[in-house]
Amino acid sequence: MANEHKLIGKDFTVPDIEAKVTGRAKYSEDFRADNMAFCKTLTSPIPHAKIRSIDTSEALKIPGVLGILTADDVPQFPPPAQGIFAKDETFYVGEPILAVAAESEEIAVEAIEAIKIDFQELPHVVDPLESLFPGGPNARSEGNVAAGQIKLQTVKWDGADFAAAGDTKMPLGRPAEEWEYGDVDAGFKKAKVIIEENFVSGTMSHNCMEPRTAFAYWQGGKCFLHGSNQSHTAAVANISRYIGIKPDQLVFIAEYCGGGFGSKIPGYPNMAIAALLSKKINRPVMHRISRYEEYGIGSARPGFQGYIKMGFAPNGKMTAADLYIVQESGPMATAGDFRAAAGAMSLVYQPQAMRFRTVPVLTNTIPTGAQRGPGENQLVNMIEPMIDQAARQLNIDRFDIRIINAPDSNAKFGKDQGPVTSAFLKDALVKLRTFSNWEERKKRSGQKNGTKVTGIGIGQGYHSAGSNGFDGLLRITPDGKLHVHTGVGNLGTHSWASTARVAPDLLNVAWENTVIERGDTRRGLPFNSPQAGSLTASTQSRTMYAAAMDMKAKLTDIAAQMLGGKADDYELADEKVVHKGGGKSITYRQAAQKAIELGGKYSGREVPDELNPITKSSVAMIAGSGLIAAAKDMLPRVGTTPGLTCNVAEVEIDTETGVVEIKECMSVVDVGTVLFPLGLGHQIAGGQILGIGLAHLERHLYDPKLGIPAAVGFHQGKVPTYLDVPPNITWQAVEKADPQHPLGIKGVGEPSLGSGSSCIVSAIADALGGHLFNRTPVTADMILNHLSGRPPAHKPLQVNTV
């Protein structure tokens, strides 16, 4: 599309990048305060136990111990919510039970060793199917099934369900939730080819590089908290709830966040420990988190055990789909991946009829939660190689079968078959076919070179990637600077900066005269989108648009008041408001000065009712300091805004070692208007690289007998390294604007991981003649066992193993 913008769509130097490359960027643990105390948590060594008593008397006698915080001292949340500390029952190894504040960490550790806890061990479970088995253990005394909108309950399937399935098939007992659209049975009847498989997608830790250290102190009745968080103002209310204070009592400082991937969206319970201990002992408290502790509280992508059946017409159209997901949820109802997976199935493949059944099962493993493409990305890893299987059986091209099923802007989404704001996945696939040189490339499929065999795979990815309804806040000060107040976080996607550029772009202000206010709630930050769900680029850019339109109206209004005429007679030029007839103008400096004199809505003394309370109190902080625009984005948006991506990968498998070498990856994305090309490329490449981890490297490993995690940390969890990824990842964008966004922008972060992962899984299957493992990660030993005709090392539906 034509680009008339000076800043939108252009590359730029992200303002915080120099701080990152010089080490000056300050993360939570880099702060200090006079008289600072330290703390350590005591975490559960047992996967499931009653806590009968806690004796801290010896610990409190140790010189240098300043205080102990237990579940009795902190806000409580009804089960199965994730609390700050285990209270009467502990649900997994690594769960915080209490914390000790001391003059030093060494003393805190010594004190923890002196604490006596009387545990009564209870049966534990790390495999959802084991929990669903008649008489199987429950992860919590109150039940074994729960999720958002699914109440905590006990679900046991019938022995007959398991007997019918035998050892190799997925038992399909009573679901906790189900839905259906269209005539599924009729859809299967008219299908020419039916694919029916069981699958297991592995659980994996978020493994953020920055452990979630928190540092807190209190001043003037307010809690000052330095925390590592993806979102900023969107997290304030929830963090306040964990601490037990009102949102306006929290000063939240979070300029940098060392990785989140979904595990730091609305804050997390652990943040409250430093805050509450600080209050208790009346000193600043630093709560450093070790890598082991991070594993326990750092969240994980839930695993699936599932069943899928898909019917295809002769032309490849999906006539019906039947999906059953049993989710390994961890012990708290913290992940909704199963629902998102079903939504992805309905959107990406547009089945004419679909049935979905699910049971989210609680397990005595670490709490799970959203991880970059929650649910969607586990599912495409399973389905994409099956789509290839169908194409093979129908003897049609692998791109053709995807294009015929891919969503366009008339697509329907989910159980309600609602609309989308735009979808150009067909266009993306057509473009990728050319970009990847498909016709030539696919000839290399299965080609042997010594011990190596080549595989080519296609992958697709989806996540909703845009929302609305947040508040924009802009200010022009009498020195002529445009202050962009942004409450989105700084996860590392650079979207806080790229979205901030929308305001100066629309208001004709030079980037050099733009000041971004962020990272500290004392700077007057509005209520903005969580930095999650691929939302920021799309949502915050339209929020900025709304605020910029309010600013433009006020600028022209003030010009009319100062120079005569109507506001409509004026337009914005370079940091000036100019009469359309020529001649008369005022500078933004003059407008700012005038706004202070006028007061009222011009200087932030009056604000629109519809603003969020957080925005209102932020406006109050800066009221009177310039010309202020504060506006809620009330522009219409009807339907789901999907970010959609597709990738091609070429891999080589060494048939003697099972090692998969990824030679080349390329991607085409449907993200609407491109906001920041360099940043978009970073999300695509990063998604591809994390996708490589999800496809064949990263995993959870739990000892089923002891309930102990064995893949704690980067090496055992197998995070991808430089040597696991191709040296160059290339991409293109469809560049068709979303019509329900004032600038046409959609997000990309999560879909890029899904397509980046599923193209690898498909390529591995392709190299092996279309063999379906129906399991991720696809590890080298799985490949070797297959190639040598040996059975897999694991049972078909076994989880938390490799």
């Binding site: 120099e18 490359v21 590089m209 920055e210 060392g258 991808p720 040597l723």
Partner: protein
């Protein structure tokens, strides 16, 4: 590392974890110390090593300057750098030589400072991220290239990546792409910024 395994449980799990716990206890215990700036390092006499066993007040040459610092025998270099010298650009992420966020140079050779005892750095030149730019503040060509190529995402691993890249180019000024990725492979990045970091290394290698 959890310390819950000696809390009255007799479970099998606790015993299984004891070995590793004991190994790293010295490292985590050293978390006691705070920055040298205005802090009292609280230590109890009983925990101090016997007088004269190891000299504690030592001189470290860090970023070209000699600094006198009180160092415990079991203290890691990352700990000394971050909490005693206040150089917080060096990050701790895994604290067990897996990730490279704590990468510094000792006599020009990269090392994981989380797994290096400070006492072994005596008499050697220590370079941290804060010592990479020129003394006047001019950025190193690697830092400039990292900015141009938008190297970092979240930035938590970036200090280590920059130090590793500088050390690589010091010993091999014009690496091939494959040499560069091998040279950088001791540094993890969970955001998946490898692609951009590598482009930056290659760009820097072409600068004078």
């Amino acid at each position: 590392m959890s310390d819950a395994d000696k809390t009255g449980t007799t479970s099998e799990q606790g015993r299984l974890r004891a070995t590793r716990r004991a190994v790293i206890k010295g490292v985590i215990a050293s978390g006691v110390a705070v920055s040298a700036v205005g802090y009292v390092v609280y230590e109890r006499t009983a925990k101090r090593p016997a007088a004269g066993s190891v000299e504690r007040l030592i001189t470290l040459n860090i970023n070209g300057r000699d600094r006198r610092v009180d160092v415990a025998p079991h203290e890691t270099l990352a700990h000394t750098i971050r909490y005693k010298l206040g150089l917080t650009g060096t990050k701790l992420s895994c604290d067990r030589a897996e990730c490279g966020a704590c990468t510094v140079m000792l006599d020009g050779v990269t090392t994981y400072s989380c797994s290096t005892l400070t006492q072994t750095a005596r008499g050697r030149k220590i370079t941290t991220i804060e010592g990479i730019a020129a003394p006047g503040g001019g950025l190193h060509k690697v830092q400039k290239a990292m900015i141009a190529e938008l190297g970092p995402q979240c930035g938590f691993c970036t200090s280590g990546q920059v130090v590793a890249a500088v050390a690589l180019l010091n010993r091999n000024p014009h690496p091939t792409l494959d040499e560069a990725r091998r040279g950088m492979s001791g540094n993890l990045c969970k955001c998946g910024a490898y692609d951009h970091y590598l482009k930056a290394v290659m760009r820097a290698s072409q600068e004078a």
